[in-house]
Each structure stands twice: as C-alpha cells, then as structure tokens.
Assembly symmetry: C2
Homo-oligomer: 391 residues x 2
C-alpha cells in the first residue's frame, strides 16, 4: 500500500471561473444491460484544464445519485459553483493546471443527457417511466463512448464518490486497460438491506403521490413534488451524521415556544431545514430519474457475476486504486471501503486507503476537509508527476 | 450502583393465558400541559397478577409510540400475544405471580382510550386533528388518575421502553413519593436532531397524502393509508439495526432476477417486508394519533424546566432507577442511557445500568434476550423480595 502524506496541504481557493457545458449526440448504438438498445444518445459534459499533447492527462469524474456534469467553476449568471468545486480547480486536489478533467451527466439523469424527460424517438413523447432500467455498467459504457468521441485512449484516473465510486470500480473491471487509477470515495461493493430499505421508502413516497400518475406525470402536465420532496428528505437525513445534525440544529426552534400552558405549534430548526431541502430538490430533479437511479444503486453488486467473490472480480483490474472513507458515514461506512481494500489486497493489486475523520456523514465527500484534500491531492500529485516525467 | 447478576436466568415460557381489557371513565378533570382541560376521559387497561393486601405490589407499564394496553397474554380468539409477553407473565422478568401489573392505553392513542378518534363532547364529532397537543407529563397525569381510581398509593415500579422510559422518568420527578423504582429502557432525556428529522419526515408523509384532508379524514370517510404506511416504514427502519436487516434479508430477492439481458423487475425481500409492515400498520393505527405522539416525543426534554440541568432535575427524584440500553440501538443509543445514568449518579441517586449486547436495534426492548431478561428479572426479583419481607 502506498503511504498517504499526513501533513495537510494548504487548501487552494482559486476557481476555474466561468465554464460552459457541451452537448454531444453519440450516434453509436448503446446496448444496455437490460437488453434494450439506444440507437443514439445525448450527453452533456464539461471539461476543465487542457488535454496534453499525448492525450494522457484526462480524468473522468463520475457523479452520484443526484449529481450532474457541473462539477466545478461557475455558469454565467449563477453564483453557485459546481458540486465538487472544493476539489477541482487550479492547484486543487484534482488540479486543472495539470489534468484535463471530464465531467459528464449520465444517461437516465435529468440535466440534459438522454433520460426519462427526453423524447423517445419511437413514440415522439417523453420516455417517462418507460425509460429502460439501468445498471452502473450502462453508465460506464456510455462514458466509454464519450471517451472514444474525445479521442482519449486511457484515463489517468476515474474518480467518483458514492455511486460515482461504483462506476470507477466497474471501469476497472470492464475496461482494465483504459484507466491507470481508480479513486473510489465513500462507496461500497453493494448496498446493505438498510440502504435498500431507505431507497424503497423514497420510491414509495414518490409513487404514492397522486401526481405521479403511474410515472406519466409529464404527459399529464403534473409533477409529484410532494413525493419527491419526501424522497429527498429521507435521503438527506441518511447523508448526514447524527452528530452534524446535532451541531447544526440541536433542538433549536424555528417557530413557536415551549412555555407551559400554551398550545403554540413548535417547529424545530431541523424540521424547517429538511422541508426546505426537500422542496428545493423536488423542483430541480425528475421523479422518474430518482426512481431509476436508486434502483441502479440497489442492483449494483460488484462481484455478482464473479461467483460473488470480490477477489475474483478485482483479479481483472489492472489499475492502481485509492480508497477513501469518512468516519461518520453510516450510509457507506468505512467498513465498506475496508472490504474493498481487503479484496484488492487479496487480488494482489496496488491499493492505498485513507480513512478520514469527519463528522459530516456521507456528504463528507463533497465538503472541505484538509485531510481528505491531502489524501486525494497527494495521490493525484504523484499520478501527475509520473505522467509529466514520461512525456 | 447495584450489581446485575451476569448468569442468564432461564427464560420462562408460561403465559398469562386469556386476558380481557377493562374500560374506565375518569370523571375528574385533567388539565393538560397545553392548558386545555379534559372534563373526563376514558382509559382502557389490562391487569396481570393479583394486588396484595397492602396494595404495594403494583407495577405500571408505560407503552411507546404505537403501543397499547395489551402487553401480555391473549385476547379471546386471537393467537397473537401482547407486545411485552416475553417479559410479563408467571415467573417472567415482570412476574405476574408476585406483582400486580397495570398496562394502560394512553390518551391521544387509538385503542379505546380518549384520543383523536373519540367523540369531542363539545362538537359531537370525532376530535380528529383538533385533539389537544400532548406532552409525556399529560400521560403521567392521566396514569395518576387511574392509580387513584385503582386505590394504589405507591407503584412498586414504573417501567417503560423508549417513550415509555420517558414516562417513567417523568413519574420520578412529578410524583417522587408515588413510586419506589423507575425502569427506563432504551430511552433518552430528549430527542436528537436526527430523531426529530425522521419524525418530521413521517409526519410530512402523512400530511402529504390527499386522503389526510387536513386531518379531517374521519369526517370525510377517508384514511391516509399511503402516508401512514410510509411513516411506519421510516420508523421501522430506524427501530432495526443495519446488522439485523442484513441477517434477516441480506440482498435476497422476493421476485425477479438479475440475469443479464432481461428487464425483469427485481424486488428485494427487504422491500417486500417493509411494504407489508407499512400497510399492516396503516390499517391498525390512526394517523392523527401518529402525528400527535411523534410530536410528544419531539417535545420531551426532561431537564428543560430545571435550567436544562439533568442533575438538577433528578435531584427531585426519590425512587431507585434501573437503566437498560442495547448496543445496536441507533435511535436511542447506549450513550443516551449513559447520560441518564451519569446525571442520576451526580444527583446522588441509587442507579443500576445494564448495557445489553444485542444486534436487534431499538426493537431489542421488545424481543427475547437472556441478558436483558436477567437484568430486568434480577432487579425486579430484589424489589419483590423487599416487598414480601416487609409485609
């Protein structure tokens, strides 16, 4: 195992600045794991940094359940940066001065790439609930077609958190010769029964909303906003730790009071916050996409087709691995990353594992943390040094 | 601290046999914490065992969120025993051969005692969502009126798990001279922000159901079954541990399969189980009661009126305490019981604390466990010995 530098690097604050998404129509057929073939599909993506002359410094960013292509920098007229802006930029852990970073919105999602809100060419209506069932490997296949389109032969690294880490692992097995490094953050080889349970409750919340219309809400001019808000609230609580919720909100009140003898309604800050988060999300995300992608999470089982042996699975990998976990993550606990690390060691692979102390729960992978910055930045610094010395 | 015997007692299997609930109309006014006065209220309760001649061997059982008066034995024609049948009966931890055990359905609930489904005498309609806001102390006040009705001067013990433990603690502060022992199981002095968050999601699930009709579903001839099922599913997952869900269900499938190339819908066992539990509950419980009692849980804060000092609060207690926690309980973790124990020690009280190893999560307090049986049974055995020697 490679050692991780323990001294935190200074966290750089420079931003990429303005970025514009690009759109590509991939006109090659994509055969999905379920057997259905998409004759063509559209992908929206962003890139940060410059591809070097031998096209060897490209990093692929894989987003998670609710992510999109906008991982860093700013869109014109929008002061909210991309979702991984803390870690992507000049001098940052994923250094756009040294790497060419590709961030793609995956199919099935709802930010411009082909998904349930797209028009199904066969019916000339939105796919809606009829969009084909997806697996993480379908995202990998689609990303591979984008890779070919960009004329990149080998990723310097494929990097992702949560479901993103699952894609990075799947890349290492499906196209072992097409990546040098897989960075798997706050992830798991498969969901636990508890994980599946929370996802199913979220799906049922959406489907119970009468405005879901059996998934045909777009055609009906409706949207299951209440159900999707509930789904997000359930997810959101599981992304945070008990500790950080306590620190942020404790038992503070948003309205009402506890004075005896009154019947004033009392609302806690944490209730107000969660309701706000739920409503914000339900206006920005598509309910069919949410169902589709949570199912993709549930289905993911890295070793299923390898006799349920993670060691046998990872025997096919050729890249190096960096695993990162966060102490308070109870959705994909450090034990899950430890299991991946153990399987990689048994398979004789080159693996580094950084177990980061953080009280922010699963969301830690998105949030500033100098140890995390040091582990990821230190690892990618060596990757960049190797690439530059071999040019 | 009193020591707990470490050798598990043999778990007795005798049952109380057939029991019949009793109903009493308490015609004394009950002034609720919110200021509203109930001129009278109905209580349904069961008793197990025989009250001794000096009326000193009575135990009060306090139920939790979804509990009722049927804690032990069987109702005629029903082969499902009461919810605490593992621990109440002849020779069991709460020994009906030695104690007179009183188990009452509390007001605001929906199993026969006055609550949202009862008729409001002022309007001649069901209370519904207009039933007054309740606090745990209101349940204690109502239980105190039942105690007077039964002509019991002092409980040998007040015992409860979860919200039931909160009532036992409140008894020790409100009527310190009216109980000799408080047994507080899997409980907490107040809910964390995460606890409140899950309760609020459950309430929103109910309120989002169009059949909730702003709480007036009874008048409208409807019932928010989908919302209440969701609420229960959320609660149920938090009552179980990740480990026990994994042991029970793992990633086993209830239907469908994973064969590549097919689009069969896959349903995991855990999804099927949870959906079943949700639907079963929503046909048996009242949605307004669920909202009311989860709010009661959120509001509970033992030390609020004692300068937020648990030590200052418990200084008022005169009884002895037994605390019990379960290692895998992440809803009310062992740390919460440790905090109660620490406050009791600082207040100079007689306290025993049994931290039980169990992988069953919060639900452990309802389930067979020989160490738990030994801790509770050993403690109550000494209580019974003292009572019998002083007769």
């Amino acid at each position: 195992m490679t050692s991780i530098p323990l001294e935190p690097l200074a966290v750089p604050t420079d931003s990429i600045g303005l970025v514009s998404p690009q759109t590509v129509l991939i006109e090659k057929p994509l055969t999905l794991a379920c057997g259905i073939v998409l004759p063509s599909h559209q992908l929206v993506f962003e890139t940060y940094g410059t591809l070097n002359s031998d096209r060897s410094n490209a990093i692929l960013i894989c987003h998670a359940l609710s992510g999109d292509h906008h991982a860093a920098g700013f869109h014109k007229g929008d002061n909210k940066p991309g979702w991984w802006n803390h870690y992507i930029g000049p001098g940052k852990a994923m250094d756009s001065d040294r790497f060419f970073i590709v961030s793609v919105n995956n199919i099935g999602s709802c930010f411009g790439s082909t998904g349930p809100t797209s028009i199904n060419p066969e019916t000339s209506e939105a796919w809606g609930a009829d969009f084909p069932s997806l697996r993480a490997r379908d995202w990998v296949e689609s990303q591979k077609l984008l890779m070919d389109h960009l004329d990149i032969h080998c990723w310097a690294a494929v990097i992702g958190g949560s479901l993103g880490g699952m894609q990075a692992m799947r890349w290492s097995l499906e196209y072992p010769e097409r990546l040098l490094n897989a960075v798997v953050i706050a992830s798991s080889m498969k969901l636990s029964a508890q994980n599946i349970a929370f996802n199913e409750i979220a799906r049922r919340a959406i489907k119970s909303d009468p405005d879901f219309c059996d998934g045909n809400y777009l055609q009906e001019g409706k949207a299951p906003l209440h159900g999707l808000a509930l789904a997000r609230m359930i997810g959101h609580v599981t992304y945070l730790s008990d500790e950080v919720l306590g620190e942020k909100f404790g038992r503070e009140l948003a309205s009402g009071d506890f004075i005896d003898g009154t019947a004033d309604p009392v609302e806690f800050e944490v209730e107000s916050y969660l309701n706000y988060q739920g409503d914000k999300f339900s206006n920005a995300f598509d309910a069919n996409s949410y169902i589709l992608i949570t199912k993709m999470l549930d289905y993911f089982d890295l070793a299923r087709e390898y006799n349920n042996s993670p060691t046998e699975a990872f025997a096919h990998a050729q890249c190096k691995f960096l695993l990162i976990s966060f102490s308070s993550d109870w959705r994909f606990s450090p034990q899950r990353s430890q299991e991946i690390t153990d399987a990689l060691i048994r398979a004789g692979k080159d693996v580094s594992y950084a177990a980061i102390d953080s009280n922010q729960g699963h969301d830690s992978f998105l949030l500033p943390n100098s140890r995390y910055q040091a582990a990821l930045g230190g690892y990618l610094n060596r990757v960049a040094n190797q690439l530059e010395s071999s040019q």
